[in-house]
Symmetry: C2
Subunit: 354 residues, 2 copies
């Protein structure tokens, strides 16, 4: 090792869900939307004035901020957008979690929370979900420097009621509470109505799932004007221009087409509910999912075995060798045809195997 290498930041690189790209493969491993974005998105790309690309983009992404504010019926000053919800969440960690006290989040949850905490040297404590993958609200009544949890949770798909969310907010008036609603559009209840009562609540959402635009990298959060102002101050203090022009103009079109959005999410929900029944009849158990995935274990066959068998059949789902979740598969909800192929394969495999 050369001397200059001694001062390199040493990290454990994140291993993302595989992104294979083969004809006929079925990709149910990263919770993408199986349907394309709204038709207006394509038109916006076609009509984009490429001469405008020579200029820096609006650093505030104002057209997109305005569209989101109108859609969610809040003020533009209550909306902050970023390059994917990962960017928004990371910025929120940096901005709000500086007390020195540990922040709290569930033990089984989105895998980047501890990463950002380590990155910004924020102490944290995880709170174990109960045996049905639910939050114990009592856990969030200890002294802390902030709270974050996804609702519905990932990778379980389990939704907490707004009563639980509010119980946590009531117990934590002195810190920022972030509800990560990446999967809320598949039948979950958003905490947005609670914004009127809790100025320390930040609700984070994304275009990567329900709006079928993972390839665009668009995330956003909505909160009290003060929270958003603080976020903007931090963002502008070290990187003024992050969201490019295509994301701004194409994002607006996705927000505008509410009919398409509702139809797409309804289709995914219908497929999910049907697949739940079929998985049950094949001997799988799973917490009731309100997300665009199902977190399933088979009563007899280990998850890792099924993961490998599916992979050999070119069906990609997600599996983690981690405590508590190593016997589960996270299966994204694809099109009906994709799910039929998944179910047919599992049926045949399990018949031979069990």
């Amino acid at each position: 090792m050369m001397k200059w290498e001694e001062n390199v930041r040493k990290v454990v690189p994140y291993v993302a869900g595989e992104q294979p790209n083969r004809p006929n493969m079925i990709k149910l491993n990263t919770n993408e939307c199986p349907y394309p974005p709204a038709p207006g998105v394509r038109k916006a790309a076609e009509n984009m004035e490429s001469a405008a690309l020579r200029l820096y983009p609006d650093s505030n992404a104002q057209p997109l901020v305005d569209a989101l504010a109108a859609y969610y019926d809040v003020k533009p000053e209550q909306v902050f957008v970023g390059v994917g919800s990962d960017d928004v969440l990371s910025m929120a960690f940096m901005t709000f979690f500086n007390s020195g006290k540990p922040i709290l989040f569930p033990d089984v949850t989105y895998s980047f929370y501890d990463v950002w905490a380590d990155l910004y040297r924020i102490p944290y404590r995880t709170c174990a979900l109960d045996e049905n993958w639910h939050i114990h609200p009592e856990d969030y009544k200890q002294p802390n420097g902030g709270v974050i949890f996804p609702n519905p949770n990932a990778p379980t798909g389990v939704e907490e009621s707004l009563e639980t969310v509010e119980e946590i907010l009531q117990a934590n008036p002195d810190v920022v509470v972030i509800v990560d609603e990446a999967y809320v559009d598949f039948g979950g209840k958003s905490a947005l109505p609670l914004l009127k009562k809790y100025e320390n609540l930040l609700v984070v959402q994304t275009f990567s799932k329900s709006r079928a635009m993972a390839g665009m990298r668009i995330g956003f959060c909505i909160g009290n004007e003060k929270l958003i102002h603080y976020l903007n101050d931090v963002k502008f203090s070290f990187n003024s221009y992050t969201m490019n022009l295509p994301s701004q103009v194409m994002g607006v079109e996705a927000v505008k087409d509410d009919t398409y959005f509702k139809a797409t999410t309804a289709k995914i929900i219908a497929t999910r509910e049907r697949v739940k029944k079929e998985l049950t009849s094949l001997g799988f158990t799973f917490p009731d999912s309100k997300a665009n995935f199902i977190f399933a274990s088979h009563k007899e066959v280990p998850a890792e075995e099924l993961f490998r068998a599916l992979r050999e059949a070119d069906i990609y789902v997600r599996h983690w060798n981690k405590p508590r979740i190593s016997n589960s598969l996270r299966i994204s909800v694809g099109t009906d045809e994709e799910m039929d192929r998944l179910i047919a394969f599992l049926k045949e495999y399990l018949e031979k195997r069990v």
Copy 2:
């Protein structure tokens, strides 16, 4: 102030160059390219398969990495891309400057270096440029935790010779040396040929100036494979997907069209050289610029007065109330027509005033 606000990160928000947008205004304040991007960029936007947007983008931006590697005749493993060169630079600070010793950069330079140093708690020391805005190579022979400087420098436009760059590299084998070449394509000499001799050299460039794509947010760096590997490890450890699909496909087209690229930069250089003569005849002095801007002071009229007068005439240039540079204007090189209007205004104003 509410209790939760006590733990908010307090920052001094960066004030970017104004981005007004009025008919007939002349915008010479943020060093954008006055010409549109290569024609293929527009076609790429039109032809983009919008259905592909539902998927996460290639996290490595491989198509763009490959195009850049081919263009600069290096291996793909030597190229790292980011969301603007600000993203690349910020990531490089985080990855390479962890010794605890101060990093070194010029006192008059790109205004984000000290910002990122503060952000990542990296100590730093600035080295005064000489009275002609040149680096003293001797300053960079003191113990340090890393070195960064732009070449040509901003906001002066002054280029250091490759001999000076190499002298600094020779004195610093044990730290990473970053040469920020945001403006190198306007007649400067790149340090890329030095990569063969110095594995601790990182060369950073951008699509925002010479490739006319500030609106896309694309930056990149080229270095030894080990350096790039470390950068990727850090990047992937906390944000896997940053560059969106349009940036990847449109960026490739910009790199491919070398004829357009060379013609555009040649036009800007020709305009710059002509404007230098005209500014001189109006009583301005300036260091010889190798960038797409001129850093000019008038012999008799204060920069701030000229800045305000130009602004009232809807001609936007950049001015800072900072030590050493408060009597200079940074004037981006626009089209010939824009520069004619600038010169005509200055001529008339100075005739009346002096």
